[in-house]
Amino acid sequence: MAKDDNTPFAIRNYEAETLRKALRKMYLIRFFEEGAEDSYMRGLIHGTMHLSIGQEASAVASCLSLTDEDKITSTHRGHGHCIGKGAEVGRMFAEFFGKEEGYCHGRGGSMHIADVTKGNLGANGIVGGGIPIAVGAALTAKQLGTGAVTVCFFGDGANNEGAFHEALNMATVWQLPVVFVCENNKYGMSTSTERSTAVKNISERAAAYRMPGRTVDGNDFSAVAEAVSEAVDRARRGEGPSLVENLTYRWRGHSKSDRNRYRTKEEIDAWIARDPILRFRDELMAHGIIDVDAAEGIEAAARQEVEEGIAFAKGGTAPSVTEVTRYVHAEARP
């Protein structure tokens, strides 16, 4: 596919079918989260959830060059990463509904969805909790020579945790195949990065760990795909870790308790105007990858998949309350 140099990276480097699937995944994330929010409002889901609506490009583009052998670690705002790494929305909804058919058989909920078979080592309820775990996964890859790369998602809030420092330092000292992807959505709950973080761009921290650091427009699919896939290639070549910072924004509040008192409607509206899904869709149309009909078809198919997923979850099986201690330890081998 010879394309000229002004063509966006993703379009230059990926097959049309891959790009169409990526758009479909972005829609899936959006509709999944809207569906989850709606189900919560109707009282069908309890607990809380952290929505990533507005951050879909970061999740999908960061996973674009990964295989099922590659790993990711995710965060409390991790639904997009799951779908980016290949999770089925039906089993995700089933988990939200607390059903046996869910990825964690209803034991984990929104904050612990994982699919180890697809290399998704799990969302995490602890800010920064997944960062050392990602480095451990990369150590396994290096030690056993599997060739796998780990992409470690975390938010701007996690960059001020001690785990971030310890883990990034070890990743460089041991030259491990891991890519740290910071999704900087400007706020750790209510506290802005300006008020919490000593550096302007979190990627500046990379210098302290002697690894490359880049900040990109996290709502620009192709920019994220380029930065992360280059870092993944570098890791795969054995040249060590990188830090990529995707500047993005969550349209919704931190969680269901958020009253949005720390940011303005104008700020939110300005970011909604930079919708990463519409930008990517328009880019694909501009480069002839899809036409209007195809775009509408992808959107409609994603909507339908989400509706089917909710129906699947509603029809799922509730765990037996006699099994509250099941899965604490491995079950006895036959």
Binding site: Y103, H105, V135, L139, Q143, E166, M170, Y327, A330
Partner: protein, 339 residues
């Protein structure tokens, strides 16, 4: 008697507790390429207590991996490595430093299998040099068995002999879930017979170290040896003590302890951790809730660590944890109905 699983053809010889642990790790490293050791100064330094010793020379720095002084991150790397196929043994230089890594041990390692509905396994072993008596004062002498024993998803063991130090470590390595091993620092130089080759001491099984009729003492780690010494003195006075080596804090061997108390009618729990809300409280409650309660001829006693940090001054340090004479005094009071 719950002696360790032993094969008749296996020869026995004397090793120190530290040498027994090193032998176990050497066997594991030789047998399974997925096994790695991680920890601070475990390579050429040989470990702060010389437990890893020369293993780095035999297996190289990739498999006997010095970590930076990063307990939280290092423990987390071990968790991530275990989750993806390695079998890491992570040494904390002192168990006290595990407080820096509680997040990864308690929130991640212990809960991963459960949170993921059984779809993941974290077979990591955390080794923790523990306990007082070395003059290292308040931040290098603690006994945290009860802390970790409070967390579902962890298994917690405390070997008191070289044989069990090896057997429990190999059992921990074979276990598909995280295991925390408290190694008492004063025991590292203790010698004892250790079978050669690969064998396991079952996790969750106590050992009756001395049988007796009048009183059950449940002790752990170095307290087992103090209880056995006390039992000798008491025997000369006509008090016949049964000494149970707890070995496993989580899960606790209910069967062995309850059967013993039913027989003797008296119980003293001896442990080094702070007395309040400690391992002895759990054992006491377990007996109170069991049918062994009906067999009690005296109140249950707990001898545990003082309600204070471990002090530096050697006399104060000794006074802060149960010593052999304390056990003897308590036993006499209990058996002669002086309480």
């Amino acid at each position: 008697m719950n002696a360790p699983t032993r094969h008749p053809e296996v020869q026995s010889r004397e090793l120190s507790y530290a040498e027994a642990i090193r032998e176990a790790m050497g066997l594991a490293l030789a047998r399974d390429e997925r096994v790695i050791l991680m920890g601070e100064d475990i390579g050429v330094y040989g470990g702060a207590f010389q437990v890893t010793g020369d293993l780095v020379e035999r297996f190289g720095p990739d498999r006997v991996r010095d970590t930076p002084i990063s307990e939280l991150g290092g423990a987390g790397v071990a968790v991530g490595a275990a989750l993806t196929g390695l079998r890491p043994i992570f040494e904390f230089q002192f168990s006290d430093f595990a407080t820096l890594a509680m997040e990864q041990i308690v929130n991640q390692a212990a809960k991963m299998r459960y949170m993921l509905g059984g779809e993941a396994s974290v077979p990591v072993v955390f080794r923790m040099p523990s306990g007082s008596g070395t003059g290292a004062a308040a931040q290098h002498s603690q006994s945290f068995e009860a802390w970790f024993g409070h967390v579902p998803g962890l298994k917690v063991v405390q070997p008191s002999t070289p044989e069990d130090a090896k057997g429990l470590l190999l059992a921990a390595l074979e276990d598909p879930d995280p295991v925390v091993i408290f190694e008492h620092k004063l025991l590292y130089k203790m010698k004892g017979h250790v079978p050669e080759g690969w064998y396991t001491t079952p996790i969750g099984k106590a050992a009756v170290r001395r049988t007796g009729r009048d009183l059950t003492i449940v002790a752990s780690a170095i307290m087992v040896h103090r209880a056995l010494a006390a039992a000798e003195t008491l025997a000369a006075e006509g008090i016949d003590v049964e000494v149970i080596d707890l070995r496993s804090v989580r899960p606790i061997d209910r069967e062995t302890i309850i059967a013993s108390v039913r027989k003797t009618g008296r119980l003293i729990c001896v442990y080094e951790g702070v007395r309040t809300l400690g391992v002895g409280a759990e054992i006491s409650a377990m007996i109170a809730e069991s049918d062994a309660f009906d067999y009690l001829d005296a109140p249950i006693l707990r001898l545990g660590g003082a309600e204070a940090p471990i002090p530096y001054n050697p006399d104060l340090e000794k006074a802060a944890v149960p010593q052999t004479p304390d056990i003897e005094t308590a036993a006499r009071r209990l058996v002669r109905k002086e309480v």
